[in-house]
């Protein structure tokens, strides 16, 4: 990268990595160190799930929907189940709704901890990565105790939930939450005080309130820029009206704020989980009857996934199968901001800006080719090389 500042290079990132899911492809055009243009190509993991839903009955589609995401499987099935229940005019018992909410929050905990580890790794802070992933096992164990599964908990059925909160699970939850809360306070201190880490986050990738609104970002990414939107509060679903979350707003809008917003959300999730376990309503786990055939109609179901608002549009033409299930995931909203934000930043900041939106992230490790624009004789980089480049760049300017 010793080219004169006026010379442009295109840095394609992605799309493949054999070990990981959900790949994406970016092309960053750089002038010297500075990114001047960026494009994205998605779709490598397009599996035709929306079309697949049209050929399955309402119940089968629930299991298909759950497999959209390997990190937030429960929130997808919740959005779908809530929508279908509204179409069927089925009342779900309060206990079932509260259990759904507990799992929503446990899922947020596991997702945010996973993200914190990946983000720390991209900043070159592997100790933090190892610690957060070790701690994340606590919440994975809780989910396994409750449901029998670590990832696809499959808690929802149409009209309720499959399993109750047993005394054994309640004890495991409270014990785990106590441990994780203490750890999260520690991590919050680390990301807001460690000078080397702050060099990678403070004032980097800043998105003002106005920019966040214009770009249409959602979730913690938006709330770190002061956008007061959280579907859990704006349009409460499952039991969020009775057991409300508290919005976690920051105003700085930089990467540091995005770290703090998610850590603050973790702390609120711990509070909320305790409240839910203590105040779990008595009652049944499923509705008395869930019809197999639904009458014609359409419904919009919005929920707050760990990454932001998840939007479902479900249409029935009458019968046993959905006519259309439209899914708009939060990463799609936030992806556009990566393209805009990286422009004007150093190439070294790209990994952190990308990680800042918490893209569905198992696809972190990619191949990178650096080549001169219009010239095919490139040298290949892996995502790990770009990450290393970022870390070395900041080490150099530090010295």
């Amino acid at each position: 990268m010793n080219a004169p500042a006026t010379e442009r290079f295109v840095v394609p990132i992605g799309p493949q990595h054999p070990a990981l899911k959900e790949p994406g492809h970016f092309e960053f055009t750089v002038e010297g160190e500075t990114v001047v243009d960026a494009t994205v190509r998605l779709g490598y993991a397009h599996r035709g799930i929306e079309k697949g839903a049209e050929g399955r009955n309402w119940t089968q589609t629930l299991y298909l929907i759950e497999r959209i995401c390997g990190i937030c499987s429960h929130i997808h099935s919740t959005a779908y189940a809530v929508g279908v229940e509204q179409l069927a005019e089925v009342e779900v018992p309060a206990r079932a709704q509260a259990i759904r909410e507990i799992i929503c929050e446990l899922e947020r905990v596991h997702s945010h901890l996973l993200w914190l580890g990946v983000a720390a790794h991209d900043a070159g802070f592997d100790t933090l990565f190892m610690y957060t992933w070790r701690d994340r096992e606590t919440v994975m164990d809780i989910l396994e105790t409750m449901s029998g599964n670590r990832v696809h908990y499959s808690a929802n059925v149409l009209g309720g939930v499959k399993f109750d909160l047993t005394d054994e699970s309640a004890v495991a939850i409270l014990k785990g939450v106590e441990f994780l809360e203490e750890r999260t306070h520690h991590y919050r201190k680390v990301v807001s005080e460690d000078a080397f880490f702050l060099q990678r986050t403070r004032g980097v990738g800043t998105m003002t309130h106005a920019e966040a609104l214009a770009l249409g970002v959602v979730g913690p990414t938006a709330r770190a820029s002061g956008v007061a939107r959280d579907v859990r509060l704006d349009a409460p679903y499952v039991a969020y009206a009775d057991f409300p979350a508290r919005i976690q707003l920051l105003t700085a809008g930089d990467l540091e704020a995005r770290f703090l917003a998610r850590l603050d959300e973790l702390l609120d999730s711990f509070r909320l989980i305790r409240v839910l376990v203590a105040g779990l309503p008595a009652g049944e786990l499923t509705a008395k009857r869930m019809p197999r055939k639904l009458k014609p109609g359409e419904v919009i179901s919005r929920v707050e996934a760990p990454r932001g608002e998840l939007f479902y549009y479900i249409r029935s033409t009458g019968g046993e199968q959905p006519d259309r299930v439209k899914v708009r995931t939060p990463t799609l909203c936030n992806m556009g901001s990566v393209i805009t934000q990286t422009i004007g930043h150093n190439l070294a900041d790209v990994p952190m800006i990308l990680v800042g939106i918490d893209p569905c992230f198992s696809c972190n490790d990619r191949a990178v080719t650096v080549r001169r624009a219009g010239d095919d004789n490139g040298r290949a980089w892996a995502w790990a090389d770009l990450r290393r480049y970022g870390i070395d760049y900041y080490r150099r300017i530090r010295n």
Binding site: V40, R41, L42, G43, H46, G48, E50, K51, Q86, L213, A214, L215, G216, R229, D234, A235, G297, E298, V299, I300, R302, E309, F311, Y313, R315, T317, R324, K326, R328, L332, C333, M335, G336
Partner: protein, 157 residues
Amino acid sequence: MNQTQSYLARAEALLEPWLAKTERPTDNRLDIWLSPDDLLPVVATLVAGEWGYLAAITGLDPGLATGQLHVLYHFAEGAAVVTLRVATPRDAAAVPTIRPLIPLAAMYEQELIEVLGVAVIGAPERGRLFLADDWPVGVYPLRKDFQPEQLDKESVP
């Protein structure tokens, strides 16, 4: 009047000239049927009036018998959702682009172009964002007359 109803009332006041055909499917929703020509002024009015945000665009095939495709623009504010519904003829499906007003719409419009075959007038020609590079041209998976056999014919990128 609760907050959701006041949001919807404000939307109705803003969009007063275009309320010829509306529905209230649920308490928190307002659906407005529009001709493709009215789409831009309506979106511009919502944006200028700072009413909510574009939550999603849904492309919909209501069946061969209707001879139409529908495009639904969902705007959300709090729990309130305003859906702008645009019908376009199936054999010449087209809607104007709204991305000069809402840049984020580019992602949603691209999906519409690729999976439902609705032309978005004013959208720059670009490569595919969602479907595979070797997916056959002119085959739209979310149309009801889509047959998997269509994928067997030689694909032309």
